[in-house]
Symmetry: C2
Subunit: 178 residues, 2 copies
Amino acid sequence: MARIAVDMDGVIANYVKKQFAFHQRLTGFTLSHKKLNGQKLRHYVPEDIGNKITAHMNEESFFLDLEVISNSQQVLKELQKEHEIYIATAAVEFPLSFNAKYQWLKKHFSFINDTHIVFCGDKSVIHTDYLIDDQPYNLQAFKGKGILFSAYHNLNNNEFERVNDWEEVSEYFKRISV
Amino acid sequence: MARIAVDMDGVIANYVKKQFAFHQRLTGFTLSHKKLNGQKLRHYVPEDIGNKITAHMNEESFFLDLEVISNSQQVLKELQKEHEIYIATAAVEFPLSFNAKYQWLKKHFSFINDTHIVFCGDKSVIHTDYLIDDQPYNLQAFKGKGILFSAYHNLNNNEFERVNDWEEVSEYFKRISV
């Protein structure tokens, strides 16, 4: 039995798709992971567009209707049979997002108990064996074993073991339990 | 330098005073720590009164205007010079309380950075050296050294080192840094 913390944005909640769609409505241009080529969005788009995207993400409802990242529900349900699963999300970056994020979790991940939901800032405070996260700085702060979930902005990072999707998360934990 | 997590309700935020005042308005009777004599409120008051008090605490604004517990600001500011201070609060017991609790912290503990605020359930997930908490079950779950902050409902607990107020917290950390 391992204790596994799972980040929310970019790992189970697809905020990137909504971000890209908003960018498309603003500019008429279609973003892609390939175009961004490992850069952060705010380093790629003009400053005023970047600010509008950030303001959009700061709206109270932004996180309410995000799509679930493929297979995250099934794999977490499966992992939960053997492991202790925590959702650890940096809600304090978007202080108005607490309720929306909580409601989203209750809707899509109702099998995760309230006691296993953590809203934090600095992920050094998370005490689990593993953290699955798309932000290298979160994995750097974390004291346990960090697993990098692929995202357009982390494609050039080689510091951590990488998983590209939830099938690979499932494979990873099958390997370590052998 | 130690990493110290500090619970919110009953340790820096005086919810008990507001709870007792509400009980007084409901029943005309004045509660006291002495009358409760180590019992939980819901074991002392009739069930319908207990339910009304819980409903009151579940209102979105309940946590917004709590008094700050004496000297908690000064002592935490002082401890912050040497130690890493986190606020770790079990907001998921009252899911509508996230925003109110966050606003309260920003108002009264603005010297604690957003990255050092944690809303959690199960405090086994908190990775710090110390946890100051009034709930024995939180200290039982915690993996580091637990310090019990006195409250009417924990007066009979002898499992943890006890501090009766923030002066004693200050003394405690002076002793351990010698």
